[in-house]
């Protein structure tokens, strides 16, 4: 995902000298080609994210188009007010890019777990929020960001995630992507957990529950039409995300369902709203927090069972 981002950014910057890349001293080994080919469009702002983001707003207000870049929470939470006041309020053409969304940098510890970013970025008015599911979705989102600009937040995973889509896709801002048609439930995923969500759908199918699977690379704008449609079609909607259960995709879907007169029941699979002090790589931590395919499947089947029981009691 990271490599795809840089490939697309470089291509865009080579074609448009107004594109500027500002890094917060992150990207050793990956930004050098950009720096070499577009030296006038590159700035390393140093380990100073507040300045990086205010600077980006200034560069954008003077007519350029800026991508800021750092890892985990540094380009978002560390300089949240600069994103809110300087970038979003002024509608400055800045895209804030975080690499290492979710538990990508699991073993680096709590400081590097980007697990509330979507909730917090989603709350900022006028800021588009994207969390693509693989390299192909990253490319589709980048095409939109290059064409239509910021203010935006782009959450990337790391490098070398499994590629889910086998061909390039075209996507309007705010569109979700149907990956699989099931017939029993709808399963929505955002971000790099997508491949696990698909494997969970396989396991669910083996247990007799066929899921429509949809990826949501955009959280804001959100594909409300797809959510309404699923709510009319299916009794159960599942959301899967590598993010706190507070404020991410599950919350966004819940907000929509709650305002429908009749809607599906919702099963939110996400990280518990607790800090993780557990050490482990991404795969290990996903398993430990119930986000591996087997745990997702188990949680969905169990909740569906509970829901059926409740339904019986109510009758």
């Amino acid at each position: 995902m990271r490599s795809q981002f840089f490939t697309d950014l470089l291509e865009a910057a080579a074609a448009d000298p107004d594109i500027v890349f500002v890094t917060g001293d992150i990207g050793f080994g990956v930004v050098e080609e950009f720096q070499r080919r577009c030296p006038d469009q590159f700035v390393n702002a140093g380990v100073a994210e507040q300045n990086m983001t205010g600077l980006a707003a200034g560069i954008a207000l003077a007519g350029a188009r800026v991508f800021t870049y750092s890892i985990a929470n540094f380009p978002t939470l560390r300089c949240l007010e600069q994103i809110r006041n300087d970038v979003a309020y002024h509608h400055a053409d800045v895209t804030v890019v975080a690499v290492g969304g979710g538990l990508s940098y699991g073993a680096l510890g709590m400081s590097h777990h980007a697990t509330e970013d979507l909730a917090i970025m989603r709350a900022i008015p006028g800021l588009a929020v994207a969390a693509p599911g693989d390299a192909v979705e990253t490319s589709a989102v980048m095409a939109d960001l290059v064409a239509n600009g910021g203010p935006a937040y782009l959450r990337l995973g790391k490098a070398g995630e499994p590629v889910v889509h086998h061909a390039p896709i075209q996507l309007c801002r705010g569109e979700s992507i149907a990956l699989r048609t099931g017939g029993d439930i709808a399963l929505f995923s955002t971000g790099a957990i997508l491949e696990s969500a698909l494997r969970a759908a396989d396991l669910l199918a083996q247990a007799g529950v066929r899921a429509d699977v949809r990826s949501f690379p955009w959280l804001d704008p959100l594909d409300t039409v797809a959510i309404h449609d699923a709510a009319h079609r299916y009794p159960t909607i599942v959301t899967v995300e590598e993010h706190s259960i507070i404020g991410g995709l599950g919350s966004a879907v819940a907000e929509i369902l709650a305002e429908m007169p009749q809607s599906a029941s919702l099963i939110r699979v996400a990280l518990p709203p607790r800090f993780s002090s557990l050490v482990g790589d991404q795969e290990y931590l996903r398993g430990a927090h119930g986000l591996d395919p087997a745990s997702i499947t188990h949680r969905v089947l169990e909740q569906m069972e509970v829901n059926r029981g409740l339904a019986c009691q109510i009758r």
Partner: protein, 264 residues
């Protein structure tokens, strides 16, 4: 209109605005009235008829709490009708206590949270130079504002990139919200701090218009900061150097007394 005329008008506006709006920061606004007057009368290349002209100089009011003074100077400079100033702080108006650009011609950046102006100013200056444009960027900071770490992040950046097209002005009245800058979080040795960060430093009397003009006319290879020694509440004897007037608005009686002083 000379800068002295503008400064006098700004002080009158500010007193009336804070009185009728019951709003804070009259002392901060009076403190920087001369700096703003010289900037808008003699320094900034801006055009009220074309506030978005691409090659205009950029001015950022980073000490956004003194918004009344910025609105007043913009009105005096002709960006909008001075009668609009009566709407300051009013329900349904756009003239908020802290600077907001929405609906107000001439405002470059909305501020109010301190420490935002210099990073954005550095970005403007960096991009202007990259694009080969000759307009300049000026940022007015409060002295208490220099407690913010982001000010020094931007100071490092601007010096590292030798942004000679960026000038900061610090309204150094020595008083912040709860007391003196020195008893709150000492700034001294303030000039040495800026020098050690790689800036050209000019210390002046921030109420001496000729000195302000000279300091802002200088051109450097490096970013320059004008440390303007000012008096909080300048021009109104009972407000001068009183931390009380950081927050307190003048009542009608106080307004009358103050107006008689600033119209002299």
């Amino acid at each position: 209109m000379t800068s002295a005329d503008v400064a006098r008008a700004v002080r009158q506006h500010v007193l009336r605005m804070t009185n009728s709006g019951r709003s804070s920061h009259v002392g901060s606004a009076l403190s920087c009235a001369d700096l703003l007057a010289v900037l808008y009368a003699d320094v900034l290349d801006v055009d009220p008829a074309h506030p978005d002209r691409p090659d205009r100089d950029r001015f950022i009011m980073s000490k956004g709490h003194a918004g009344a003074a910025l609105y007043a100077v913009l009105a005096e400079r002709g960006f909008f009708d001075a009668r609009l100033l009566t709407q300051h702080y009013r329900n349904g108006s756009f003239l908020s206590g802290h600077v907001s650009h929405v609906g107000i011609p001439g405002v470059e950046l909305s501020t109010g949270s301190l420490g935002h102006g210099l990073p954005v100013g550095a970005g403007l200056a960096w991009q202007a130079r990259r694009a080969g444009q000759s307009w300049r960027t000026y940022v007015l900071l409060g002295d208490g504002e220099c407690d913010e770490g982001s000010v020094w992040e931007a100071a490092m950046f601007a010096a590292h990139h030798r942004l000679g097209n960026l000038a900061a002005v610090v309204d150094w009245n020595g008083l912040q919200s709860m007391g003196t800058t020195e008893e709150t979080l000492a700034l001294e040795p303030f000039a040495d701090k800026w020098r050690s960060f790689g800036w050209t430093v000019r210390e002046i009397d921030g109420h001496d218009h000729a000195a302000i003009r000279t300091a802002l006319a200088a051109r450097d290879e490096r970013p320059a900061v004008v440390l303007a020694r000012t008096v909080k509440g300048k021009g109104v004897s009972f407000m001068e150097n009183q931390v009380l007037w950081h927050y307190r608005p003048p009542d009608d009686l106080e307004l009358a007394g103050a107006m008689s002083e600033v119209t002299r």
